[in-house]
Every structure is written in structure tokens, then in C-alpha cells.
């Protein structure tokens, strides 16, 4: 089953690799490297899945997630995160 996936990652090499991998599995992938741009894209298009980096220019991954949820433009089922020094400072309710 083909899904539409939005990959938001500012490290362009990592973005390319993730996108290639997903495309290899037959998914349709849209990429962005900026938080604000991603919010705009998510508002304009419909995605089945979003894969977000946490530290992003413009908006953090958590802020981006919050914006998207408020606009109800995507149903978020679950996601996992490995806690690092960067992610640990976000409060538990922000984790999905």
C-alpha cells in the first residue's frame, strides 16, 4: 500500500537517504528542511505519515507537530522517540 509521507529534516544528506529508503519501499515522499515550510506543506497537502527531526530551523519538530495537530490535517497514531539531551527538555505531554 502506497502512503504519502512528509520527511522534515535539515541535514540534507540524511533527508536524501530517508527519502530514498521510503521511495524504495514504494511510498510517495515529500521533503522539507524548514519547520515553517513544513507547516505550510502539511496545510496544503494531505499526508499519511510525517517523519520529523526535533531541532529544525524555523520551528522545532514538537512545535511543528502541535501546529499540524491543531489544523487536524493528519491523524497521528503513534511515534517513538529516543530521548537525548535535546529532546529530554520537552515535557512528557509533548511526546507522542
Amino acid at each position: 500500500m502506497t502512503s504519502r509521507i512528509l520527511v522534515v529534516e535539515d541535514a540534507l544528506d540524511v533527508q536524501l537517504i530517508v527519502a530514498d529508503l521510503l521511495r524504495g519501499h514504494g511510498h510517495e515522499v515529500v521533503v522539507s528542511s524548514d519547520g515553517n515550510e513544513a507547516v505550510r506543506i502539511a496545510g496544503e497537502q494531505r499526508f499519511d505519515l510525517m517523519i520529523l527531526d526535533v531541532m529544525l530551523p524555523g520551528k522545532t519538530g514538537f512545535e511543528l507537530c502541535q501546529s499540524v495537530r491543531e489544523r487536524r490535517c493528519i491523524s497521528i497514531s503513534s511515534a517513538t522517540l529516543r530521548s537525548t539531551s535535546n529532546t529530554a527538555r520537552y515535557r512528557a505531554p509533548d511526546r507522542l
Partner: protein
């Protein structure tokens, strides 16, 4: 997190220490004052005691010599002159004959007073009365003839006379001693002072003067050989006026301290002017030492707080460094790992895509190498206390090499680089590998922070007695408040962190460290056209 609470604690601690130091200083001042008020009395008493013991020793010395010279008349048949000769012989054999200048025996024959002295051969013989003994001669003659008083001692004279009595009757004669003032001044007094006033003599002036009118100075340790005078800290009598005794009762001769007087006065005064002045001066010195100690204590506490703060800041920076390095290492590693995974799993099959992946792996591996090189170079620079290996460096060559090595990164960032190196630059001293790393770091910094401007300018020109290298970009520049800090190890500016600009925060610190090691300087300003401008100045190599 800025340790505001801890800084407040440090200031509170410093304030408490400063207060304690101030209280200690006040107490010290007060107690030293009390002590110095109480101090002169015992010191003066001690000095008086020492002087009296000295005086006693001097008088005893004179008395003992006189006693030995007293003729022994225990047998009534013994002639006075013979007894005098015997006493003299014994005295010469055992005592210091220089103590007396002259010794004489005055005897009465009918109404005449005849003087016997000691000739050069040491024999007793009758002699004429010396002129300077004339007063004594007259006094004895008057006493023999009539009811006149026995001869008295005079304070301006060094003569000492002792009456010689037989078993019954009036005086049979007088034995007369003339103290050798020169000898007393040159030998006896210095010996006694060294013995009884040590170590007082180091800090005190001692003088001996006659007690009579004029107070002629006999001896003085002061530089101008003057008498200690009225401001003396302690005085004592010296050279008692009389020695009492009789030939019949030899061995009982003694100075008439009671009722007699001392011909000389020995006086002591502190070289500081007086004992009170000396104590006040010692108090001042004590206070100065105490204040220095209290100051040192306060300074040490202040330094301790400073060092603690610095250590904490360093630890904080190291923590950020560890977090930053691990993040910066993880990004290229993720890319390499992901690329390798995609290649192995056959996600990419197209030869063009495969080549692109291989370039990606290479680029990220190079980035990793760069990070590790910087960390290692920083670590090495931290431990390098000396300049190490020095070579002749042509700045133009090193700069061109660094630009070439960074060409790929500059291109990747989409920047244009403009290089302007003047010819005939003086050589500088340094290590080519370190210098190359310095310029690569500055260019890499411009690449990271200036991609918005798409321009990097590198120039080198002579400056004074050296070379000036400028590396500029058209990026956002360095905020003024951060300009002093960006050269600190591990420091990363707020903007840098917010924009996720890669870097360990070590590059600029390494640059500063290396340039300063070679006696150069590095500074940053925001250029008028926008962007940051780093200026490195290196002194020209001194030609031997």
C-alpha cells in the same frame, strides 16, 4: 543553565570573609594597642635589672682587685711596706694588672705622709707625690695632723683610697688605686655590655659618664659618642666611691654602696629614640604584618571563589562541548550509516545515484575527520606550553594551501571566495601544520556562518613589522556581546546554536591559542559592509 544561585552564594561568602577579615583587623589593632601600652614597663624593669647586674659586676671586679692588694697585717710585726709588696706580688701573679694605672701606699711617719709606689721592676719604693694626686695628699696630711675628716672620694677623680688600720689606733696608712680609665673604656665595659646587655646592645645605645658636674662622657656606643642623657630608658651607678676595709680585717673590704655614691652613671636608651617609641614602632610593624596576612587571607578567598567560578564555567563548557561534539559526530555518522544501508539493501541501483551516495559518504567522513582533527589539535594545544617545533612559514603558501583544502566545502556551501595576497610578505615563525589548521578553521568558520552572503574574502598584506591576514564573510556577523567570548573554548554563540550551525566551539579557540603561541594576535569585528571580519597579525621572523 547559568549558575546564578551559586554566584550569589559566592558573593555572600566573599562578603562574610571580608567582614571577618575587617573584624580581625580591628581586634588585632586593639589588642596590639593594649599590649604595647603594657609592654614598656616590664621591658624597662628588665633593662634596669640588667644594668644593675652589670654595675655590680664592675664594682665587684674593682673591689676584688682592691682586696687582693690590701696589705695583710694579721701579724703585728709585719711592716706595712713589706705587706704591700707581698700583696702586690700576689695580685700581679693572678689578676689583670692593667685595671689600675698606678697603685700607691701612703704611710705616716711622724707628721709626714710618705708615698710608696711600684717601680718598673715591680718593687715597692718611696716616691714623690704625683701632681694630680696633690689634693689627696693634702687631705691625708690634714687628717693626720688634726681633726680633719678622712679624705673623701671625688666624682671627677679615678682615685680610690682605702684606710689601713692596725689592731688599735688610728689609720696606719692608706692604699691608693688609680683606675685605668682607658683600659676600662676599651676592654672592661665592652666585655660587660656584651655579657649583661646582650642582645640589648644591638638595639640600644649605652653611655657611661661622670656623675659630677659636666657629666663628662667616658664611654658611648652611639655613633656621635654622646651621652644617652635625659631620655634614658634605664640608668645605674657605676664605680662606687669608696671601698671600706682595713688591713687588719683583710677580706672584709667592701664598697660603701650605702651612703656612698657612684662616680659614673651608665645609661641605656633605645636606638629608636626611647623604649616607648620602639614599642610603638614594633606595634606598627606588627600591625602591618597582620594587615598583610588578613589581606592575603581575603585575597586567597577571593581567588578561590574566582577559580571555583572559572572551573564551574569550564565544566559547563565541557558539558556543552560533549553534547555538541556528540551531536556533530552523530549527524555525519547517521548519513554514512544510512547511505551504506541503502547501498547494501539495493535501495539505490542507478550508477549515478550510487556515485552520489559514495560522494556523500566521502564528504561526511571528511567532516568527521575535520571534527576529530580539531578536537585532537585543541587537546594538544591545551597541553603545549612551549612553542615546540618552529619553522620558517611563508604565509602566502600556507594560506593558498588552506584555501585549496577548503575549496570543496566552499563550493558545497555555494560561496564565492576572493583571495588577495600581496607579494613580498615577510616570513613568520611557526609550525606549518598548526598554521594551516588556523586558516582552515577561519575559512570553515566563514563558510558556516556566511553562506547567506555567498562570499568569503581572504587577504594578506604586510602590517608594521609583520603580516596581517583578514578573513571576511557577508554573513550575519558576530553580536558585540559575543565578540569577546567566541575565542573561549567550547563557546558557541546563541545564533550559532539556534541555527544549528555545525561546529564544536573549539575552532576559534584553537586559532587564538595557536596564533598567540607564535606571538601574534587575532581579533574579530563586524565589517561596515556586514558580516564578520577576522584579523590575524603575526610578527615577522627575526633574522639571526
Amino acid at each position: 543553565v547559568k549558575p546564578i544561585g551559586q554566584t550569589r552564594t559566592e558573593w555572600a561568602l566573599l562578603t562574610v570573609i571580608a567582614l571577618v577579615c575587617a573584624i580581625l583587623s580591628l581586634l588585632q589593632y586593639r589588642w596590639t594597642g593594649e599590649l604595647s601600652k603594657a609592654e614598656p614597663a616590664p621591658l624597662r624593669a628588665g633593662l634596669n635589672d640588667q644594668l644593675h647586674r652589670l654595675s655590680q659586676a664592675f664594682n665587684n671586679e674593682v673591689r676584688d682587685n682592691c682586696r687582693m692588694l690590701l696589705p695583710n697585717l694579721q701579724s703585728p710585726e709585719t711592716g706595712l711596706v713589706e705587706a704591700f709588696q707581698t700583696g702586690y706580688n700576689q695580685w700581679v701573679a693572678s689578676r689583670d694588672r692593667d685595671l689600675f694605672l698606678r697603685i700607691g701606699l701612703a704611710t705616716t711617719e711622724k707628721d709626714n705622709v710618705i708615698l710608696y709606689g711600684i717601680n718598673r721592676a715591680g718593687r715597692v719604693e718611696a716616691m714623690a707625690w704625683p701632681e694630680d694626686w696633690d689634693d689627696l695628699h693634702k687631705a691625708i696630711a690634714a687628717h693626720v695632723k688634726g681633726p680633719a675628716r678622712p679624705p673623701d672620694a671625688r666624682p671627677d677623680s679615678n682615685l680610690l683610697q682605702m684606710p689601713i688600720f692596725g689592731e688599735v689606733g688610728p689609720e696606719r696608712g692608706w692604699i691608693i688605686f688609680e683606675l685605668n680609665e682607658e683600659y676600662v673604656r676599651g676592654k672592661i665595659l665592652p666585655q660587660l655590655i656584651a655579657e649583661y646587655l646582650n642582645p640589648v646592645e644591638e638595639n640600644y645605645d649605652v653611655s657611661v659618664s661622670r656623675s659630677g658636674p659636666g657629666a663628662q662622657v667616658i664611654f658611648s656606643t652611639s655613633s656621635d659618642h654622646s651621652a644617652v642623657g635625659e631620655g634614658a630608658d634605664a640608668t645605674a651607678g657605676l664605680f662606687a666611691s669608696q671601698v671600706a676595709g682595713s688591713a687588719a680585717a683583710r677580706g672584709r673590704g667592701r664598697f660603701k654602696d650605702e651612703g656612698g655614691f657612684s662616680r659614673w652613671i651608665i645609661a641605656v636608651r633605645h636606638r629608636g629614640g626611647s623604649l616607648d617609641a620602639a614599642v610603638a614602632s614594633a606595634r606598627r610593624k606588627n600591625l602591618i604584618v597582620s594587615l598583610i596576612l588578613v589581606g592575603l587571607l581575603g585575597g586567597t578567598a577571593w581567588a578561590l571563589v574566582q577559580y571555583t567560578g572559572r572551573s564551574r564555567r569550564l565544566a559547563d563548557m565541557q558539558f556543552r562541548f560533549a553534547a555538541g561534539v556528540s551531536h556533530d559526530l552523530r549527524t555525519p555518522l547517521t548519513a554514512i550509516r544510512g547511505a551504506a544501508f541503502n547501498l547494501i539493501e539495493g535501495v539505490v541501483k542507478d550508477p549515478v545515484a550510487i556515485a552520489r551516495y559514495l560522494r556523500l559518504i566521502l564528504r561526511n567522513a571528511e567532516e568527521l575527520t575535520g571534527i576529530i582533527e580539531n578536537v585532537l589539535a585543541f587537546s594538544a594545544a591545551q597541553h603545549a606550553s612551549k612553542q615546540g617545533h618552529l619553522e620558517v612559514i611563508e604565509v602566502a603558501d600556507v594560506l593558498e594551501h588552506a584555501v585549496a583544502a577548503m575549496a570543496h566545502e566552499i563550493e558545497q556551501a555555494g560561496c564565492r571566495i576572493e583571495v588577495s595576497i600581496e607579494s613580498g610578505l615577510p616570513s613568520v615563525a611557526g609550525d606549518s601544520v598548526s598554521m594551516d589548521l588556523v586558516f582552515r578553521n577561519l575559512i570553515a568558520n566563514a563558510v558556516r556562518h556566511g553562506p547567506g552572503g555567498k562570499w568569503i574574502g581572504v587577504s594578506a598584506a604586510p602590517f608594521g613589522d609583520g603580516v596581517e591576514v583578514r578573513i571576511c564573510d557577508h554573513g550575519p556577523g558576530v553580536p558585540e556581546r559575543e565578540q569577546g567570548r567566541i575565542f573561549e573554548p567550547f563557546y558557541r554563540g546563541e545564533q550559532t546554536r539556534a541555527q544549528r550551525v555545525q561546529g564544536t566551539g573549539l575552532g576559534l579557540s584553537l586559532v587564538k591559542n595557536t596564533i598567540e603561541r607564535y606571538k601574534g594576535t587575532v581579533a574579530v569585528v563586524n565589517s561596515s559592509g556586514g558580516g564578520a571580519e577576522f584579523t590575524v597579525r603575526l610578527p615577522a621572523l627575526q633574522k639571526a
